[in-house]
Symmetry: none
Subunit: 436 residues, 2 copies
């Protein structure tokens, strides 16, 4: 196999065999193929696509590039949730403790921020001391102890995906259903889970801008998961505006603690209840979705979910004091308020632009090596359909470095479209469920 031949074949819309894909992934993981060849191949995949057999072969090649965990020795079902990512998308931090508090096991291997979207690991690391880099033994121990552990991809888990994911982030090769499917499913299938709930985002702040693309990806994910013997459903949910009221690592942790405390923004709370309910249903903890929602709400109201979050934070070395006093989290030095230039209604939001503004402020990475500033981020004051007065705040930028403000401000200022008439419809939270 010559890598350049496989690149050329994909560039010319050709199909690769299972063996060729296995060799490509194995060689890249072992360092036998340089990054510059892989990134050219990835760009060809983004622009030419992959067939279903190619996607299946890629997913399995990436899955088997490392260890596949087995938690069958633990009682109760192992379930997980995965989101395709968006702006202010922080549900994992709420759902994982709810579902663990409800008696299921949640072995959650998460990712970092990718492009304009945030990542669970980056959010968790804004809790002082929180260690997302547990070795697998420790991951198993925390999971057995409290029913949930949240870590990053270890060297053992789908190392091919780890390497490819980092490369995609900096080479404009994120937005490919084939690559997204292989990346998600290779990691998730390595977790030793029985069931998986997928939150496939669509809209101006999602990787899939339109609902049909999102539905296609969702079907691809569900099909791939079911082929591997897992229970899988996918919810197509809205990302035409940020989820909740914040985007920024420490700010989002604080917001999740609010939701776990029974408060917080309605949209975030609703989506968390819905996703947790599906996890309970697929994990056979409840018989109906409504029962799952009620159980989730009860676990919040009783404080058990919040208590579970505190337990997880403690077991993973984090400052549990944060759970009672989110003021202990890092806070940006400066704020800039973006106000509305005219009166009217929020007609639409360029949500990805808001995500990029967060990256520009230092809350995400422009290059793999970049260090994240946990304190910075955006606070959102208006949602689609809201009335707004001239001069009224639309959002606030919380920042530490003046040099970063200009670009972020310009992104945020141009992200809101304001019209004189109230929009006839606002985006629903959930569009449809696939695979149920």
């Amino acid at each position: 196999m010559r890598a350049v031949d496989l690149i050329r074949r994909k560039r010319d819309s050709g199909e690769l065999t299972r063996e060729e894909i296995e060799q490509l992934i194995a060689a890249y993981t072992a360092g036998g193929i340089p990054d510059y060849q892989m990134s050219a191949w990835l760009m060809a995949v983004v622009l030419r696509g992959m067939t279903r057999p190619e996607i299946a072969a890629l997913t399995e090649a990436m899955l088997h590039s490392g260890s596949v965990l087995d938690f069958s020795y633990l009682p109760s079902r192992k379930v997980d949730k995965h989101s395709t990512g968006g702006v202010g998308d922080k549900t994992s931090l709420v759902i994982a403790p709810i579902v663990a508090a409800g008696g299921l096991k949640v072995p959650m291997i998460s990712g970092r921020g990718l492009g304009h979207s945030g990542g669970t690991l980056d959010k968790l690391e804004s809790i002082p001391g929180f260690n997302v880099n547990l070795p697998l033994d420790e991951f198993r121990r925390v999971l057995a102890t409290c029913g949930c552990s949240l870590i990053g991809q270890t060297a053992e888990i789908a190392p091919a995906d780890k390497k490819i994911y980092a490369l995609r982030d900096v080479t404009g090769t994120v937005e490919s259903p084939a690559l997204i499917c292989a990346s998600i499913m290779s990691k998730k299938l390595a977790e030793g889970i029985d069931a998986l709930v997928l939150d496939v985002k669509t809209g101006s702040g999602a990787f899939m801008k339109n609902i049909e693309d999102a539905a296609n990806l969702a079907e691809l994910l569900v099909e791939t998961g079911k082929r591997m013997g897992k229970k899988v459903v996918a919810l197509i949910t809205d990302m035409n505006q940020p989820l909740g009221c914040t985007a920024g690592n420490a700010m989002e942790v604080a917001e999740c603690i609010e939701v776990l405390g029974g408060a917080g923004p309605t949209d975030l709370r609703e989506l968390c209840l819905e996703l947790a309910a599906w996890m309970f249903l697929l994990g056979e903890r409840v018989k109906t979705l409504d029962e799952g929602k009620k159980l989730s709400a009860d676990l919040i109201a009783s404080g058990l979910a919040r208590e579970k979050f505190r337990e997880i934070v403690g077991l993973q070395g984090g400052d549990v004091g944060v759970v009672d006093d989110p003021g202990r989290l890092a806070r940006a030095k400066h704020s800039f308020v973006v106000t509305s230039p005219l009166a009217g209604y929020i007609a639409s939001i360029q949500c990805e632009q808001l995500g990029v503004a967060g990256v520009v402020l230092g809350g995400g990475r422009e290059k793999k090596e970049d260090k994240i500033d946990p304190a910075v981020g955006l606070e959102f004051h208006k949602r689609i359909g809201d009335a707004v007065e001239r001069g009224e705040p639309l959002c606030a930028l919380h920042y530490n470095a003046d040099t970063r403000l200009v670009e972020a401000r310009s992104l945020a200022e141009t992200a809101y479209r304001i019209e004189p008439e109230k929009p006839k419809t606002v985006p629903p939270l959930i569009y449809r469920v696939i695979g149920a």
Copy 2:
């Protein structure tokens, strides 16, 4: 500028500004952008294309990444020729001495074999002692002394192109008119020439398989050159069969010496006279193309062109004895004759396959690091339209290593299509001239 944004914009068929392209090329040349980002961008360019303003900006950015030579202190016009490459395409070695003998200056910076096509530098290096790696000072001295010097790209000339060219070769990003144009023109415009004649090959042995693609590339090259204030024409010439009777470095040098001696294959001689005539015309040495052809023929007949070649070889450290006795060139130990399996006429030739056969024999490189065997190559006995008897030789493979014969033989044996009827037309030598 974030490299990933420029990659994404091109991926999504967007246009980059002149400043963005300048920054991208400058940063890549300086090492500020890694290979893996550049290769993803290059693949996006291959699949999405570039606009004319983008191509102009890319060419100029690559040109100004290094020194731009200035030979205005030398009397008479500076002209050059560039071919897009093919099999047996050896005209530079004939034309450069003709045009220099005719009084113009030919500062020729050439390339090495790429893919299945040969390269002027590899051919020249089959002359014992010939040094193609002259420093610029020495290049200037040889040019001033004898009116011509033939060297490879130095570190000073278009370093951005040098780096990008090497990357393209191994990432499947060679076949892009935009990138080909920027690569050729940035190097050629750095030579300090007044005029350039382009030989754009089309056919089964060229990078541009069909004439429309070749014409589009030719127009792009001509437009780009003219915009930079140069006189430029492009000849679209045939590469559906090898040029001349040999493909192989030492064998091609011997064939060029034949042409310079007034003999040699008709097609090679004709094309050389035509290209040299255009150089004389653009260089204002003659008033008409016919006058240019006559001058070229006279310079061969008088022996002055051959004498000029000897002078160049001597000044660049080569064995001048080769000019009188090509038998001093390396010669392969073994030969294998490919014969026709049936009687009929040569209907078509898979010319690229013959080029690859030459690479397989060791005459070209499969990897950048490969060493070339100057002695090996192919000798062609039949051209399209020729009658052939069963068992009559089609071509001969000259080789040194038995292990290389099997694959090369199979490539050569399947390269000829023989039909019972004589083909109605044979490819012309020259299809059209663009920019005249």
